[in-house]
């Protein structure tokens, strides 16, 4: 395991200060914002996000610090011993009010038509400040929405220039395609050369969507396409649900973060009229069989190592844009979503006696990048796209609300056959380290022929940036690493580029925390909620009777009936894919 260098416990100087008359003692250097929380005072913020570096630019969190003429931003201002802070003085209130009025005086802040209506930080702040009119002339921002991307929509008219998207794109994902341009009142957040998202090296991860406090960046809404399909009697509409959705859809519908609602999810989808409700976990198990054998083959035949996982489409687009020279390292396995799509319109169609053209394949994912993935030409079979439409967790939540279903009180029901049987290994795909752990459970037993003494590989679990482990396969040492978030992935890729990587197998998930922290998940998604969803994921794994992919009877049946063998001819045709070099910037002809 990568050792985290912790400094030896040092004496941290403490500071005692008063905030609105309440005395509080915190380590020196704590921000006023954090210190205020300790005494139960929530200072309003907009540019501040718990997982991003403090910026102090929206100026909403200003407070009065005794002795300072200037108001100070609570999110950045470090406490000092003896400090006296007022968080709700007339000066502070006047300032916050004016700041919010200035924000509301430009752009489109029409709440009922906004994708973030009732879940908007600006709306919440304006409400608490009691703003009823705007003393400045309201100006619209004459910029069209960018609808070019298959995954993400940008609406500059709603942007309040808080730069959280800039920070997450640059700092967390290391992509950096969003940044401020222009100055003064003309400042805006845009892309390289102001191009559409589809023309720049955006990986569609949607982390910007998760951190946006307003409705300026959001998922491409595909709910109407699904409603239409459901209403079409000539279509057999099937749906698959990703591992991470079962631990987050409840949260989207008002349950506490970390609620496991697999059975209710299935019931809700049936209520909506889906003909078959299947589980992506099934093809997650299948991915493990194929990917595990691919790893063993690469190790036996001197193939390119380390092998990199391929289930995360944001990550795939990232390597295609930014490290195309390393594409040989990427496993040729399609993602579970796309394996499912390919089998649904072949194996399943055959088995059920349906013309594949009549199948409408819907996928519910924690992910915005999956929307793009299903449009890739590599992901189309003879009868069109393998997956017709991808919904995010948020969109499914919206549809369930539209249905008027009382989600919390729905009965539990089971997935349909044949893609309804899955194992704990498939479930943990949703968390960072999960694919690795699932692969190790299978690879160990395939190689050694022995049963694992302990099924839990703790070194690859958790939210640490980069995790590593050594596994002994009866004398064969396998060295593995796990990274989540693309900045962390970059560290491992640079190692490979320098020829210094001695890993055999690396799991990379585009989003922090893995899929449970994906760009399609409920808002807010923070490190705190991610941790809760991860806990739920491993709980779901533990509760299942089968926890190793190769023990899944439906998988065994699939091979005996249809695929024959891992990495076989059929597998190559349906379950494996190719990648392409993508430019950093698309030239216009």
């Amino acid at each position: 395991m990568a050792a985290v260098q912790l400094k030896p416990e040092q004496e941290v100087a403490m500071a005692t200060l008063t905030i609105d008359g309440h005395s509080v003692t915190v380590p020196e250097g704590t921000t006023v914002l954090e210190a205020a929380k300790k005494v139960g005072i929530t200072i309003p913020t907009l540019c501040h996000h718990p997982d991003l570096p403090p910026q102090g630019i929206c100026r909403l969190c200003v407070v009065e610090v005794e002795g300072s003429f200037l108001l100070q931003t609570a999110c950045t201002y470090p406490v000092k011993d003896g400090m006296k802070v007022r968080t709700n003085s007339p000066l502070v209130r006047e300032s916050r009010r004016t700041t919010v009025e200035l924000m509301l005086a430009r752009g489109d802040h029409n709440c009922p038509t906004c994708p973030r209506n009732q879940n908007c930080e600006l709306q919440t702040v304006a409400e608490s400040l009691g703003i009823r009119e705007i003393p400045f002339q309201v100006l619209r921002h004459p910029r069209p929405k960018d609808m070019s991307s298959a995954s993400i929509v940008r609406d500059p008219e709603k942007c309040i220039l808080c730069r959280r998207c800039v920070a997450v794109c640059q700092e967390v994902q290391g992509v950096g395609i969003l940044f401020p341009v222009g100055r003064g009142f003309a400042t805006e957040i845009t892309t390289p050369l102001d191009r559409n998202l589809s023309e720049v090296a955006c990986v569609n991860c949607g982390q910007c969507v998760l951190v946006c406090p307003v409705g300026a960046i959001y998922e491409k809404d595909d709910t109407n396409r699904v409603w239409e399909a459901l209403a079409d009697p000539s279509k057999v509409v099937i749906v698959q649900t990703a591992p991470a959705v079962r631990v987050s859809i409840g949260e989207e519908l008002g349950l506490p973060p970390g609620s496991i609602t697999t059975g209710k999810l299935v019931s809700a989808l049936r209520e909506m009229g889906f003909d078959k409700v299947f589980d992506t976990d099934f093809t997650a198990d299948l991915t493990i069989i194929e990917e595990g054998h691919e790893l063993l083959q690469r190790m036996k035949t001197g193939g390119t190592l380390p092998m990199l996982t391929s289930c995360s489409p944001g990550w795939i687009k990232f390597i295609e844009h930014y490290y195309p020279e390393l594409l040989d390292h990427v496993s040729t396995c399609k993602s579970p979503q796309q394996m499912f799509g390919a089998l649904a319109k072949t194996y399943y169609a055959q088995k059920a006696g349906i013309d594949p053209k009549d199948i409408y394949s819907v996928s519910v994912m924690p992910c915005t990048a999956k929307k793009f993935e299903c449009t890739r030409e590599e992901m189309c079979g003879e009868s069109g796209p393998d997956v017709d439409v991808v919904l995010t967790t948020r969109e499914l939540g919206r549809m369930i609300r539209q249905m008027g279903l009382d989600f919390a009180n729905l009965p539990e029901s089971d997935y349909d056959d044949p893609f309804g049987i899955s194992t704990g290994a498939g479930v943990i795909f949703g968390a960072t380290g999960g694919v690795m752990e699932a692969a190790l459970r299978t690879v160990y037993e395939v190689v050694t022929g022995k049963t694992l003494p302990s099924i839990d590989f703790h070194p690859v679990r958790g939210l640490e940036a980069i995790k590593e482990a050594d596994v002994d396969l009866d004398g064969v040492k396998v060295k593995v690493a796990v990274a989540h978030g693309l900045s962390n992935a970059k560290v491992l890729l640079e190692q490979i580029k320098r020829g210094e990587s001695d890993y055999h197998f690396i799991e990379i998930m585009c989003c922090p925390g893995g899929c449970i922290g994906g760009g399609g998940q409920p808002i807010p998604t923070t490190m705190e909620t991610r941790a809760k969803r991860i806990r739920a994921t491993y709980e779901a794994d533990r509760s299942l009777p089968l926890r190793k992919s190769h023990e899944n009877p439906a998988i065994k049946k699939l091979y005996s009936e249809f695929l024959k063998e891992p990495l076989g001819e059929k597998s190559h045709e349906l379950l494996h894919t190719t990648y392409r070099r993508r430019p950093l910037f698309q030239q216009r002809i």
């Binding site: 200003v62 006047e94 700041t99 924000m103 430009r106 309040i160 009142f185 400042t187």
Partner: protein, 428 residues
């Protein structure tokens, strides 16, 4: 001696126009680099800091922060390397003192920087020059070359064992890059935008390392202070603002240009003695001190001493030493409008109150000038100004409302006559 020269005292501009700025020999023969040798060969760094602290020198870029204290913070800050930056991004409208110093006496700035570097333990310096100052860039580049060959820059300066060198950087035309942290962002190759303080540059400056950033005029004061001592310096000026100040006299005044007077010289002396009074028989109406971001003072304040603290008391500032004189042929609202257009153009767009506020200030003042505004608009204008001066992220936004606030204080009737209701009754 005529009144123009009588009130002046030349410390900073001592060599300007007296020596050939392209000749290090002339600088040396007029006493140049003696202070550097004294500091590096005869004094401990801490003693240099102490001397500057004792002198009471305050930053001449605008804020008036005690220079010695700034050096002491940087000297004590943990971090290696440390940097010294000379802020020559002179962007304040109506100010060109730094330009004259750089083009008239470049070596005294270099000498000041080396002494600062020695005092705080910096190994590298940056001289950040306003992009439009082509001649300054050439003169200073030539002077740096000469100083390097004469052994006043590089390794082992003047045989002291101390090493330091200076790199010149040219700005790209943004006013905000004169703000110290925005300037550092610019040197780092980033968008010119101010950083949130704290941390201050002396703790985390350029590339996150302890950095001293001083204005050209501040640094030009260093060699004479080291050479003549803190007590000598304190004899000039006022107790809390010792030394001289270079002012740029512009606008409706007979003698326009750079003048250097002891701190505390009154506005009246500058306008009527040094400046020679108001031309064309007009009357003095207003003086704006400190550039566009300074306050606007009426005739009743002509006897105010021009120093940091006196001006702060009347809600104005010494700023960079710009002094814009406006006669009674001008409408105050019109004058203020032009300042607001300037800030609207120069706001970097980072923080909300400045980005949105500078735009709104300009629109509101236009509305008033167009006789479209009401008393309610005047209230909104005042409120916006109050918020901006306390809540904006950096000095630009905090100072932008100053001309409005001070003219609302001293020339309110000129706003009132522009209001829609007032104008209507006037018309009737």
């Amino acid at each position: 001696m005529n009144s123009y020269l009588r009130s002046q005292k030349r410390v900073v501009l001592r060599n300007c126009g007296q020596i050939d700025p392209n000749s290090i020999e002339e600088y040396i023969s007029s006493g140049g680099y003696r202070a550097l040798k004294r500091a590096l060969l005869e004094m401990e760094p801490a003693a240099v800091v102490q001397t500057v602290k004792d002198s009471g020198l305050r930053g001449r870029g605008g804020a008036g922060f005690p220079t010695g204290l700034k050096w002491e913070f940087a000297a004590k800050a943990e971090g290696d390397p440390k940097f010294v930056i000379c802020n020559a991004d002179e962007g304040e409208p109506g100010t060109f003192k730094d330009r004259l110093i750089l083009e008239g006496d470049p070596h005294c700035v270099i000498e000041g920087m080396v002494i600062a570097a020695y005092a705080v333990g910096a190994s590298k310096g940056y001289l950040y020059i306003r992009g439009e100052y082509g001649q300054s860039y050439e003169t200073i580049t030539n002077a740096l070359k000469q100083a390097r060959s004469a052994g006043f820059l590089g390794n082992d300066i003047a045989g002291s064992g101390f090493g330091f060198d200076i790199v010149v950087r040219s700005g790209a035309g943004a006013y905000v890059c004169g703000e110290e942290t925005a300037l550092m962002e610019s040197i780092e190759g980033k968008r010119g935008e101010s950083r949130v303080k704290p941390p201050y540059p002396t703790d985390k400056g350029l590339w996150g390392y302890p950095t001293v950033i001083n204005n050209v005029e501040t640094l030009a004061n260093i060699p004479p202070i080291i050479e003549n001592g803190a007590d000598w310096f304190r004899q000039i000026g006022t107790p809390t603002s010792p030394g001289t100040k270079v002012f740029t006299l512009t606008g409706d005044v007979m003698n326009r240009g750079l003048v250097e007077v002891p701190m505390g010289t009154t506005l009246r002396t500058l306008v009527f003695d040094v400046g020679g009074g108001i031309p064309r028989g007009r009357k003095f109406k207003m003086a704006q001190t400190g550039g566009s971001s300074g306050g606007c003072l009426p005739a009743s304040l002509l006897d105010i001493p021009l120093d940091f603290d006196s001006l702060r008391e009347v809600d104005s500032s010494l700023g960079s030493g710009a002094l814009l004189i406006v006669d009674d042929s001008h409408c105050i609202v019109d004058v203020v409008k032009s300042f607001m257009h300037f800030f609207e153009h120069e706001s970097c767009g980072k923080c909300t109150p400045c980005r949105e506020g500078t735009y709104r200030l300009a629109r509101l003042v236009e509305k008033i000038e167009d006789e479209e505004a009401t008393l309610a608009d005047l209230d909104v204008l005042s409120r916006l100004c109050r918020v901006m001066e306390r809540s904006c992220l950096c000095g630009l936004g905090q100072a932008a409302p100053k001309p409005v606030l001070t003219t609302l204080k001293y020339f309110k009737e000129e706003y009132l006559v522009h209001l829609r209701d007032q104008a209507a009754s006037k018309g009737a």
